[in-house]
């Protein structure tokens, strides 16, 4: 009842807004181009406004974790409002939270200040999101683990040996046993090996790796590596249900071509999806099978046959997506204009019957006709597929700039919705799990082409919210996202239980101090440790005197236990910017190589006396 009143109020407000907008459009000397382009009925707009409006103070229904592409970060949005809630820095320093400035995160980033983040994967239990961790890969051969208890990057593994251009990653298995990595840009291995480009077909190698995830801590280790032909291994997914135990990866450039790949790698009518039995790979790795390359064992399917198979797929496939039950493996030939639904039961039968049409470097190629259930004419440039309840499937069409809705089993395409513009990935609510929610879908578009106020030539990407709760898909909202959303994960908000302060009892940092009385400076030779307390509105000690040549470690403890009372530590002239959350301790170590007086201050506005929260690092000359 209450809800009804709320809605009707909203619709009234929306109606008011609409009338205003229409009047404006009529009176304005030149109506905005978008208004000209979109002759949508006012009622549709009202419905869209109602469906996306989250009133001040109200909360969104879903989290959307969107990859930041070459920005190296993960962006968190609320659905359906599409409001940007937070940025989780992963592979790139982020001054906003001091990421990459303190000792721990600096160490985690290692020699990189950049990563091309692509495919976030939420941890799963029995094939459903469990809200524990988010994994995300990047092209330099790394995977990061974000803990969703505090939305912080906790671990980065890699660069992993032999993996080159880790694009086909980080898709996790149904119980988060493994994430996968794979080589998109084949190279001679181990890394550092020389082979001229004309030796590409024989001397360059692709590799897939299973990254083992500790079920308790989430800690990642290299589980196994499998040697693959020098194709461009592109995107993957883990099997589930009947296909549990298998990883799938698409490959283009099965021509093994070099040079101008847009031509040379587009010659064959069919490329492949590889199916890797990861339980076998795990077993073989345990048995010590494989050759030592780059310090790790790599299993060659030629020498250890029977666990890797190739499934022919439409020309230059990009996405491969396993249906909620695990029965169908859906691959889209980017340049073929069809999406193929492979029946995994038939795949298993074909393997059993050795229904092969050839082999590539010792890997059997299954007979296409024997394993496919249907070819779906979804449209031009099909890329990725997400799922809804009741066997609905949604495939993004890059060339058509649209999403096609079709049904598993009957294979009929029932609806299309245009995307602005050139959709890449798409992300439905829990749309890659065993129980997709339907309801919402976000199209992650590559081009926005000025559907926004002009911000100059560096245009933002566009993420469009689509309502998929009814028979016809309806565009609800345009959001303009940070570069560059590749893939995203949408999870029901109540599955995530994030803390808002770090409980004091859990802080086991050896240099933490919790009382202003315990703050101070200790010295051992030229090593100086400053145990500092940050609390409204003082940084204690308020001045620190050291000598030129000292190595100074500031251990900063924010002793607040109040939500949102973050404190910063900006040290001028030393490129030092630390942000400490309530209950957290962070350290930053500086080699003091010049004398002078350097102010430090709280960077994160905290209180009425925030300005006064300051002090001095005083360096005596040698």
């Amino acid at each position: 009842m209450n809800q009804m009143t709320k809605w009707s109020k909203r619709s009234l407000a929306a109606a008011g807004l609409m009338t205003g907008a229409l009047l404006l459009a009529r009176c304005a000397p030149s109506a905005p181009t978008s208004a000209k382009k979109a002759p949508t009925a006012a009622s549709d707009l009202q419905v869209a406004a109602m469906k996306t409006y989250v009133a001040p103070g109200d909360l969104d229904e879903y989290y959307l974790f969107s990859s930041g592409g070459h920005s190296g970060q993960v962006y968190v949005y609320g659905v359906p409002s599409m409001r940007h809630l937070s940025t989780i820095p992963v592979f790139t320093p982020y001054p906003g939270t001091g990421y990459g400035f303190d000792d721990d995160t600096k160490k985690m980033l290692g020699r990189f200040t950049w990563g091309d983040a692509h495919h976030p994967a939420l941890s799963e239990t029995n094939g459903d999101y469990d809200g524990r961790w988010l994994f995300i890969n990047e092209m330099n051969g790394r995977i990061a683990r974000i803990d969703l208890r505090d939305f912080k990057t906790k671990e980065i593994i890699g660069p992993v040996a032999n993996i080159s251009g880790n694009h086909g990653s980080s898709f996790v298995t149904p119980n988060t046993e493994y994430a996968i990595m794979s080589t998109r840009f084949s190279i001679p291995i181990p890394k550092g090996t020389y082979a001229s480009i004309d030796k590409y077909a024989a001397s360059y190698k692709g590799v897939a790796a299973g990254i083992k995830i500790d079920p308790k801590s989430g800690a990642m280790t290299l589980g196994w590596e499998v040697l693959l032909p020098p194709f461009d291994w592109d995107i993957g997914d883990a099997g589930k249900g009947i296909s549990d135990g298998w990883f799938f990866l698409t490959a283009y450039n099965t021509e093994r071509a070099t040079g101008k790949l847009e031509v040379t790698a587009s010659q064959k009518d069919r490329d492949y999806i590889v199916a890797i039995n990861w339980r076998d790979a795990e077993k073989y790795a345990k048995e010590g099978k494989g050759d030592l390359i780059g310090g790790v064992k790599v299993i060659d399917p030629k020498k250890v046959p029977g666990f890797v198979y190739l499934m022919p797929c439409g020309k230059s496939p990009h996405g491969v997506d396993v249906s909620p039950t695990g029965k169908w493996v859906v691959g889209s030939g980017k340049l073929a204009g069809i999406t193929t639904a492979f029946n995994f039961e038939k795949v298993l039968t074909a393997i059993k019957n050795k229904d092969f049409t050839g082999e590539e470097d010792g890997i059997p190629v299954l007979k296409y006709e024997s394993i496919k259930d249907a070819e779906i004419q979804v449209g031009l440039g099909p890329l990725h597929t997400q799922f809804g309840p009741d066997n609905w499937a949604y495939t993004s069409l890059f060339v058509d700039s649209a999403i096609a809705k079709w049904k598993l089993g009957t294979w009929e395409v029932v609806d299309k919705v245009p995307m602005s513009y050139s959709i890449g990935h798409l992300c439905a609510a829990e749309g890659d799990t065993v129980s997709p929610d339907g309801k919402y879908l976000v199209g992650l578009n590559k081009l926005s082409h000025g559907r926004h106020l002009s911000v100059g030539p560096s245009q933002p990407e566009s993420s469009q919210l689509v309502d998929i709760s009814e028979e016809k898909m309806k565009l609800l909202y345009d959001a303009f996202t940070e570069p560059e959303p590749h893939y995203a994960q949408m999870i029901k908000a109540d599955k995530i239980h994030a803390i808002e302060v770090y409980p004091k009892e859990e802080n086991k940092h050896p240099l933490a101090v919790w009382d202003v009385k315990d703050a101070g400076v200790t010295r051992q030779g030229d090593k100086v440790i400053v145990k500092a307390v940050l609390v409204r509105s003082t940084i204690t000690p308020t001045s620190v005197e050291v000598r030129e040549g000292d190595t100074v470690t500031f251990a900063l403890t924010n002793i607040e236990q109040t939500t949102d009372e973050l404190h910063g530590f900006g040290l001028l002239d030393w490129n030092t910017n630390i942000v400490v959350d309530p209950g957290e301790t962070k350290t930053v170590t500086l080699k003091i190589d010049r004398p002078g007086v350097f102010p430090y201050y709280c960077t994160n506005f905290c209180s009425a006396l925030h300005q006064e929260m300051q002090g001095y690092l005083i360096v005596k000359p040698k």
Partner: protein
């Protein structure tokens, strides 16, 4: 006059009836919630604290809302105006209040078993004094907190009396102060005592009339 004194003496010495003894037993039982639940609750709201900061005053401790975090927050905010930290150790009341409540329990029980009207008057008067003194003591403590402000505080505010009953605007905070369960229980104790006293005096008076064979 003499007969009045004799009458009073008789009434004071007359044993308590079943009703008053029952009421005294009830009063004893009411001391249990008075001991274990909060006496007073302070709630503070500000734009930044929509949920409110809560402080519960027990007979033996202070307890902040949000698992104690609210006390820290209140103290943290109060340090800007130079107010002393609210800490359990500063309240001598927390030592003698539980002792007194326990003692009253024993005195009430004694009255249940051995009580006379005179004895009942003694515990009632004592209890009334105890209640009044406790209230004054708390009020004084609050006054002291609001008046002994550090002269070097960052924010100078005129000395103030925190509200004891009802609401008050203090800077950006709306502060509400109301008695809690334990205080209501103590109020019920007082009520039970007065009722027992009334019943006993009336019963003793009537008994005297019967014994004296007619009006005396």
């Amino acid at each position: 006059m003499r007969s009045f004194i004799e009458k009073c003496d008789r009434i004071l010495k007359s044993p308590l009836g079943l009703g008053p003894r029952g009421l005294l037993l009830l009063a004893t039982l009411l001391l249990v919630p008075a001991l274990v639940s909060p006496l007073w609750r302070l709630t503070m709201f500000a734009p930044q604290y929509q949920e409110g900061l809560r402080l519960d005053i027990y007979s033996y401790k202070l307890e902040g809302g949000h698992a104690g975090q609210d006390t820290k927050e209140i103290n943290l905010l109060n340090h800007y105006i130079g107010m002393k930290d609210l800490v359990t150790e500063d309240f001598t009341e927390f030592l003698w209040l539980p002792f007194a409540i326990g003692a009253f329990g024993l005195l009430f029980l004694r009255a249940v078993v051995l009580g006379t009207v005179g004895y009942l008057i003694d515990v009632t008067v004592l209890f009334a004094y105890f209640s009044g003194f406790s209230m004054w003591s708390f009020a004084h403590k609050m006054w002291a907190y609001g008046h002994n402000l550090d002269p070097t505080a960052a924010v100078k505010v005129p000395p103030f009396m925190p509200p004891l009953f009802g609401g008050k605007q203090l800077a950006n905070f709306e502060v509400y102060s109301y008695p809690s369960l334990a205080s209501w229980a103590l109020g019920a104790v007082a009520l039970a005592l007065f009722l027992a006293l009334g019943l006993s005096v009336r019963a003793a008076g009537r008994a005297g009339t019967v014994a004296g064979q007619g009006p005396g």
